[in-house]
Symmetry: D2
């Protein structure tokens, strides 16, 4: 059944602030620290108490905004969004926050996650005459809110949210209120902080550190936080169910200096590396990590195993979007971008190459080849996560099952495919232990669906024109 | 006397190729791998045997060139240049390679290094009616060549070079020849490789690895290499003197995967860290390095000392040229770009912070403050090079002596200024030993002028309008 | 009552083509010939029978489109739009054609004219949960169509149109049909032509001449034309009422080479000038016209009066959007852009200056001053239209009544205000006669509302948040 | 002999001001009014008494400059230049003013005209070691000045100018002086004015009108004007010879509101049309002019002949540089840019089409075809200048002799080639009479070389690599 379901999954980052005289500037810096969560586009909407005003665009935060644009965004409340680079691009209108005006008031939405019933809801709304502006699943919430008969915006939001299924961290802003909601499984990170008198919300705590805000607590699964001139008010739109925080946030997605559910990401990664070293027993001369996301794990592995850590691979910092890719002919001649092996480090050595995950296997294969061509005697690939066998419907771009090489190949077969001398995956138990969770039962606090196929929510088969819907 | 001498010193990177059907494309990739040597501007000039044609511009290699521009540069010989970001910018005309047309033939020049008598030579040439197009010291060589009475280009170059003083790695290209020259002290790295039938020259060997070229040898001090349809021909325009390779190339400037004089840079840096650990004796909980250039040294330090290496500082990858800097008011509120401390890693810890050098002290002071604000109990700064007390006149941007904080302050005073709990510099002996050289006498093969004040060449006092001259 | 009504009125141009292999390219050229009708923005939507695809942007047609963008717009049906420059700019989303996607099909709209009940309709639709994407009055029709319960698109459109009040020439395109509708008063020009097997629709016939299409007939008031694979089919959504073609189309708005209702615009203007000469009796040495729109009338005036026509004013062709306007101080020093008097032509002369209309009087005052400073002995202003005393609600930017100087000042007062030696307006009878219409009764075929205050449709007082609605 | 001589001839415009607090802004407006003389590029150099500073770029004046750039150009003296669009483009470095720095002072040059011995002088200078920065003939003067042994800049210029042959109006500016020179034949217009205490120099008097400057006099042939803090000082670097003002300046190049040698251009053109009417005797229904340059002549023709003037052709104002040209296939379908016939004006009529000149004949042929396709019964082409049979070496782009259709075809043959019903050229005598000169002897004050082949200066055969030299 799962194989039927196609979709463009994305990860994103959200940031919000309420009660700060430089709301737009703070959001700019906040989004900047969340930039790793999305490089396709960025946007900020502010409110000055009377109207909403926004700017958004394709590219990095510092490409979308300049001083003039930021200065135009005067207001004391703001929400912002960074969007993941998708293969096929994506229209300007899909860049968030989405902003809707009407003669009775405006509404801005920013969303991290992925709704699994967006297509069903949209079809239903269109049959009633609604016109959608975007192909983003986020817009569904706007229509549900606007069609709601309730009077207060809080009630409109509170009764619209239960119609959504999937993973979501939503920021909803009107002229006079900022509302924050997290899905009942708490699948995406979302934290709350204070900056003087202002409240700050962000996908990752690294955004708080940057602007000097003080971490208060994580938003709870099923919680609706309303912030307005009367302060912060919390209530539940859903009773708590089993928390299922996305494991990939720890494994590779979040920034090492962020804490998720109170656990530091770099430290978790280093423990993943240590645990991986414990679970294997390879004789080697050097340990090296695939930059940037696997360096912490590689250092942990080296520390645990006693094998020295070396910089065996260099990531090129200057390969931008406009970089001219080498032709096939040139690639054969040796032109290789992005990652360079350090010949003198690996030449004649037995190398343990630590990476965070294997999705399609093509990258791993390429890196093993690079290291061998640079003279490595043996290359032992050690992966600081279990095999990914199942697609993610909640916002991580692990694509369709057909593309997941571990769905169809055993580690032994995969080892041969990527040309390594050995291939080791971390166990699920090891993963939970290293992160700092107790057990693998359904109550472990982590979503392990991409490894185990046990999804925390129901999944809907996508319909024929699903391709028209882009998830945020 | 030295304090009188002002100038804008710069480091750059050069690349050349002769006898390749995709000369411009190869140069594009070569320059890309030398991008860390200069981000201000880039240029490529090609020859198709009949005429020279070039493109250049401000910015990164992939900003200056696109597919169309590269395809226009048809030819089998090419030279390219990347230029360091200078504070005050620098005119378009100064971007290299410089290209000079005349009714009897054209000439392209690319230069890494700095001439110490450029101003004197220029003044002399102008008094004879020469009109300069740039404020670059590189142009002096073009005028010397053009005024030379010799018939062959090789002789024109050979007899012009001895009039230059300082550090230089020159690529000179005409319609039919590529000439390569290194100053008699060999102060800048310059290596030679083969790619099929083509010859390749580059400032660093990492450029060879990228395009699959095979390293042949380093260009020798005082050597003039002439490459044309008859192959490669080498002769000397100067007898060899004491080699004086710039030590900063090992300490922070070159890429870790390059080999300079046969010594791998990452390995040298790791040895610098180990040697530094040997020379000091600090009790601490974690070792952390200032990314990116000090990571190798920090890992070496950790390995030698047994203190665990941790990622205590994160470098932000997305801070581009157009990034809006926080105002003073925001900085006070905590907005800090570029470098973030990892709170959970340093909180309550005694931290050894390894950095490659201290120039003005402001950066070190800022990082110590960051770490302390993030909760570090103690911060011990360990520098993997000796104190920089003297300005560089050969192309490294260590500015004027007034700005060199070690010129006027002892390590103890400096420790207090930067707010560290201790400050350790590597010794000159330790530096040479770690790099792999024998002794500190004048024959050690390294230039130590910025530490010792012993310059390998004579230095000329700059004249009043020196400010008009930009060094390449 | 009229003074209560505020709004941003605009004139625009529309073009459509059905059944042509280069539909987008033809639309590009068509829009180009309608460029004078709107320079703020331009857009094209095409259909290839299966889906709609569009491109739009701020600026001129040749700024919005390049070869690549046009080539992407493959299809055999297309509609396009050029938009008038409004004072306060206008959001990207308001640029037309508007394009709406849904899971059951797409819809594109292009509109020339102005709806007088847009605000009322929008308010009603929003109260039912509709979310508007733009602040354009055009979007109202899209929502009316989508909410319609009819099955066929033709019926949806046919029964939605009667809810609209005002002036409109609408192009509505789906994947498989192009529909064309003109308001029951026929207030905007809209003509039909053939190009081989294709049908072409345009605001002005000059677009047909450019692409070599053959004029068929004008679209009739209240007519709905449906073009699809079965050919062209016409029906009426309203019975014909009195035609009320906008008189400004003849006076200054349309291109001289266009024919409106079978009357050539240049010839009509020349007749306006002749009629004006008949209605006045001024002794003068030269006749000059304010370029470009008044040249035809000035030549007619000269021909009729026997006073020689001279080029007394030169329009500067290079004053673009980015031109730096002179400061007040510079203006006093004489810096005058856009229009230059030809000193030798007017010096010491009695000059008749023919202009097409006076709205605020500021331009006329400025030109009289220019001519006098250049030495004109007398300046007699002759206007080839009657005084504009009433605002236009149908799309011509004659703004609010407060800004219409003739609403509050007699010609004698106005003559003094602008500093002229005499001021003559054309009579309403003269206007109709010169255009070629019979009488001034309500059946004359022309809208004279801005002169007479007799509006052909009812007018609605604008509501409080009217300012949020931009008319197309 | 002439046929051997190839070259790229160009017309340009120069402007200078000295002693004005807003020198750059005034130059911006001045260049703007000279924009018709060159649209390829523009530049301004200012002096603040201590240093020269400039900005230049490709495109129109208002594209090259914005408020920020102009504000950077602080100074009380300025020179500016606009450059003609050449077929093959032209390098950035050739855009003027050229600016040369040296350690002893800077020099800026702006030039209108064309040197006929530039190639010879350049070759000579290069053989002595000079390196040229541009391919512009203007740079030759800079080298001649710099190589001069004289002490004062005035003497350097005064003794360098006599080495130049051809047509030139030069502005030379140093930190402290502005020098103005006109060739001994006075072939290019150059006038002097006063603006308060400041002196102003411009290619055309329309620039004075724009900024409110008061015309003083024309610069005399062979005159060198030096303006500095001591005021304006005039001397001669050559004795006056026969003045030979370019006739094309009157016929089509200059702006109608300019006066050249005291003669207004529009009035001269109208007289050319009247004279043309006197010299011919065609029965026709309407007279129409090819916009913009032939309108004055057409009106004169109509006035003299009594045949009514009509707007038979419309010039499209929006065809910019980036406009997508119709493909051959589209042209056949009727897509015609730039010029549209007014069908209702010419249909069934005998049309006299007045144009200013015929160079290759292709444009005339195209317009005749347009008019006939629009229904003109007869098209009589009347040209307000004599046949152009000889190339111009002084800066007007009448190209090589091979391209001049009148060099090889009689008017009768040409009439057939362009498909007209008759073709009339103005006589040389008529031309001089209409302009206001006495006779056709060598002392008539006008250059008639392109009609008669009698060149006012010697001409040098171009050498082999002439193609490398672009004239200004």
């Amino acid at each position: 059944m799962l194989a039927e379901i196609k979709g463009l999954n994305e990860e994103c980052g959200v940031f919000g602030i309420w009660g700060h005289s430089n709301a737009a500037q703070m959001t700019y810096y906040g989004l900047h620290s969340l930039q790793h969560r999305g490089q396709e586009g960025a946007g900020i909407v502010v409110t000055d108490g009377e109207r909403l005003k926004g700017t958004k665009g394709h590219g990095l935060v510092n490409e979308v905004f300049d001083g003039e644009k930021l200065n135009d965004l005067t207001g004391t409340g703001a929400i912002g969004h960074v969007r993941y680079t998708t293969a096929g691009g994506g229209g300007f209108e899909n860049i968030q926050p989405l902003l809707f005006h009407s003669q009775t008031g405006s509404l801005a939405l920013a969303h991290n996650g992925n709704l699994v019933n967006a297509s069903q809801l949209r079809r239903q709304l269109e049959s009633q005459g609604s016109i959608f502006q975007t192909t983003s699943d986020t817009e569904v919430l706007a229509h549900l809110i606007r069609k709601s008969g309730f009077t207060s915006m809080k009630d409109k939001v509170k009764y619209a949210l239960p119609m959504l299924k999937g993973a979501y961290a939503f920021l909803v802003m009107t002229e006079t209120e900022l509302m924050v909601a997290l899905d009942p499984n708490g699948m995406r990170p979302l934290s709350l902080a204070r900056l003087g008198d202002a409240y700050v919300i962000a996908s990752e705590t690294c955004a708080f550190d940057l602007i000097g805000a003080e971490y208060l607590r994580d938003v709870e699964p099923g919680e609706l936080v309303v912030i307005n001139q009367e302060g912060l008010h919390s209530e539940r739109f859903a009773t708590p169910t089993n928390q299922a925080m996305c494991s990939m946030e720890y494994i590779y997605f979040s920034r090492p200096d962020s804490d998720i559910n109170g656990i530091n990401v770099h430290s978790a990664r280093k423990r993943l590396g240590k645990q991986l070293a414990k679970e294997t027993n390879i004789e080697a001369d050097v340990v090296t990590g695939v930059p940037d996301s696997s360096i912490s794990a590689a250092i942990g592995f080296a520390e645990e195993s006693g094998i020295p850590y070396e910089m065996g691979l260099i990531k090129n910092r200057y390969v931008g979007r406009t970089f001219i890719q080498p032709t096939q002919e040139m690639r054969e001649q040796g032109v290789k971008m992005k990652l360079s092996p350090v010949r003198k480090v690996v030449e004649g050595k037995r190398v343990i190459m630590v990476d965070d995950s294997i999705v399609r296997g093509t990258t791993s294969k390429r890196i093993v080849k690079l290291l061998k061509e640079a003279g490595a005697k043996e290359v032992h690939v050690c992966i600081s996560s279990p095999p990914i066998k199942h697609p993610c419907f909640y916002g991580i771009d692990t694509s369709t099952q057909e593309e997941l090489i571990s769905a169809f190949h055993s580690p032994e077969e995969l080892c041969e495919i990527i040309g390594a001398d050995s291939l080791t995956f971390l166990s699920e138990e090891g993963l939970l232990k290293a992160i700092g969770r107790e057990s693998t039962d359904s109550n472990c606090g982590q979503c392990l669906a991409c490894f185990s196929g046990k999804y925390p929510t129901e999944i809907y088969p996508a319909e024929n024109d699903q391709s028209k819907t882009v998830k945020s």
